[in-house]
């Protein structure tokens, strides 16, 4: 599972609105598609931008189809907004594959996602096989996203904070530290901190952090771990749940 650390030219092959402010992107990038492993990520930039936005934006790889990589992108700021407006045929600059992904689960896999955290887990499920796939969303505005995900992952168990989609409440309810499962998780900090508090033993989490280089060069993306500060982009983004210091 190597870090590629290179910039490639890719071409968008598909752009699909799959939820409120959520876009599915597919980009042809054979160099990456043949290498990337679940949990690894890439950085994107639009070559049509001038020097602003300056930095590339990190996204988990959500799957591989032939020469194409898949991405789920939520519009949250200017970079993602500009990327979401691109059309099939448009060029992209892609850096990757980046970081250390998920290790092969040692027992039956359980996937735990908060909203867009489902992206790397979809790819993991493609590689490691289906298992429980739990998704937490805030509210009913996520309906079309959930429907899209369900087509891709029929075993999806949905929880929503306000009960308007799937079951009401916390997506972690069904998890127990005593079960002999290998959990892979990606979602908001509080969700993963709660998992740490539950004392899950075999759990890998994919972390996020603001990045500048994405290649391990700047130490800009560090998080606190039991063995000191670690770079999300190069030492992660996947870490052992127990290794991460949640109030760091």
């Amino acid at each position: 599972m190597g870090r590629g650390v290179d910039d490639y030219s890719a071409v968008l092959t598909s752009v699909e609105l799959i939820g409120e402010d959520v876009v599915y992107l597919r980009a042809r990038c054979p160099e990456l598609a043949c290498e990337v492993e679940p949990g690894q990520f890439i950085l994107l930039r639009d070559p049509a931008w001038g020097l602003d936005p300056l930095l590339m934006r990190p996204f988990a790889v959500a799957g591989v189809i032939g020469d194409d990589i898949e991405i789920l992108l939520q519009v949250v700021g200017r970079g993602t907004e500009m990327l979401a407006q691109r059309k099939p045929g448009d060029p992209l600059v892609v850096r990757g594959p980046m970081g250390r992904g998920f290790s092969k689960p040692s027992s039956s896999p359980v996937y735990v996602a908060g909203t867009l955290g489902s992206a790397p887990l979809l790819f993991a499920r493609d590689r490691f096989g289906a298992g429980r796939f739990v998704l937490g969303v805030p509210n009913g505005r996520w309906e079309s996203f959930v429907l899209w995900l369900k087509r891709r992952c029929p075993e999806l168990e949905v929880f929503s904070d306000d009960g308007s989609l799937g079951s009401k409440g916390n997506s972690l309810k069904g998890l127990s530290p005593d079960e002999d499962v290998s959990v892979m998780a990606c979602g908001p900090g509080p969700m993963m901190a709660a998992m740490a508090n539950m004392g899950l033993k075999d759990c890998q989490v994919s972390m996020e952090s603001r990045m500048a280089c994405g290649i391990g060069a700047c130490s800009g993306c560090v998080i606190e771990t039991s063995s000191g500060k670690k770079r999300v982009c190069a030492d992660g983004p996947v870490f052992d749940l127990q290794e991460v210091v949640w109030n760091g």
């Binding site: 190597g2 870090r3 650390v5 290179d6 910039d7 930039r45 020097l51 602003d52 936005p53 300056l54 930095l55 590339m56 600059v93 850096r95 603001r210 990045m211 500048a212 280089c213 994405g214 290649i215 391990g216 060069a217 700047c218 130490s219 800009g220 993306c221 560090v222 000191g228 500060k229 190069a234 760091g248």
Partner: protein
């Protein structure tokens, strides 16, 4: 490709592009020839006497065409650098500049003494008196001509190899700081480290960075760095290495024509890993079209 080699005093580099301190890693996969083939040398991350954890909280923040950083000199210390990092870097085929960060006199002296025995593996020592991201030391030395002179003398009396001094743009009188460094024995000046900037987290209603201010770099600052290179080059006779916002061959040429012998690049790499290659290609085309044989012919031509 034209001959892009340059000399900075006694140091020969195969291209005028040096990777700036803190913007490249030690990880092996970053040292492939297709990434560093067009790079003249790589500066180490700042080295301090002891290990440093660096700053808490947000460390990088994008601004229009620029980057704010508050890494805070995170590094594993001089002993680890000499004992572990340097041996790893050997055989990777790229000249190494050791960026030594001034905190206090005792620490500086110990660091230099640790480096002397391995001086054959270090292309130059870059004395960093300019980091804005720590509370004590560093930049407070670089803003003052007197203190800069003292720091340079301390190193010069112990280090016979090439000695570069990395200045801070926050110096009220950069010409005087440059002259002080030269008179105290510096072989070259790096002009300059990051500018002092700030960002606000309007949602949280507080500054983005724990230390409030942060170091400002990237294309946004290029017009400022170029002006500083012009100023300092007019005040000293030792070579200058331009640094701050270089992201194209035109930027490199601008710095050179203003009086720089080479440039350092950092933030631009984050955006485009192949930037050194594109710069070299553009420079090469320019030199061939203009009948320029050596980059040195262009140094200071605009003055």
């Amino acid at each position: 490709m034209a001959d892009l080699s340059v000399k900075i005093g006694s140091v020969s580099l195969k291209t005028p592009i040096v990777i700036a301190s803190g913007t490249w890693g030690y990880d092996e996969e970053l040292w492939r020839d297709d990434l560093l083939g067009h790079v003249g040398a790589v500066c180490s991350k700042a080295i301090t006497d002891g290990k440093k954890e660096g700053n808490p909280g947000v460390r990088v923040w994008e601004t229009p065409c620029g980057l704010l950083n508050s890494i805070g000199l995170q590094n594993t210390g001089i002993d680890d650098f000499v004992d572990k990092k340097l041996p790893e870097l050997e055989g990777r085929g790229v000249p190494i500049i050791a960026n030594v960060s001034m905190e206090d006199e005792k620490g500086l002296i110990r660091m230099v003494e640790r480096l002397v025995p391995v001086s054959d593996r270090i292309t130059a020592l870059e004395l960093n008196v300019s980091c804005p991201n720590v509370d004590h030391g560093c930049m407070s030395w670089g803003v003052s001509p007197v203190l800069t002179g003292q720091a340079v003398s301390m190193v010069r009396s112990r280090w016979s190899g090439p000695l570069w001094v990395k200045m801070t743009p926050q110096a009220p009188d950069p010409e005087a700081v440059g002259r002080a460094a030269q008179e105290s024995g510096a072989d070259a000046l790096v002009v300059a480290n990051t500018w002092l900037g700030m960002a606000m987290d309007v949602k949280a209603r507080k500054p983005v960075f724990a230390r409030k201010v942060a170091g400002f770099s990237g294309p946004a600052v290029f017009p400022l760095s170029l002006r500083l290179v012009w100023q300092v080059a007019g005040a000293v006779s030792i070579p200058i290495i331009g640094c701050g916002g270089v992201s194209s061959w035109e930027d490199l040429l601008s710095m050179v024509m203003a009086g720089a012998s080479a440039v350092e690049v950092g933030t631009g790499l984050f955006r485009d890993l192949h930037m050194p290659e594109s710069i070299c290609k553009g420079l090469s085309r320019y030199m061939e079209a203009e009948g320029v044989k050596h980059v040195s012919e262009l140094v200071g031509v605009a003055r």
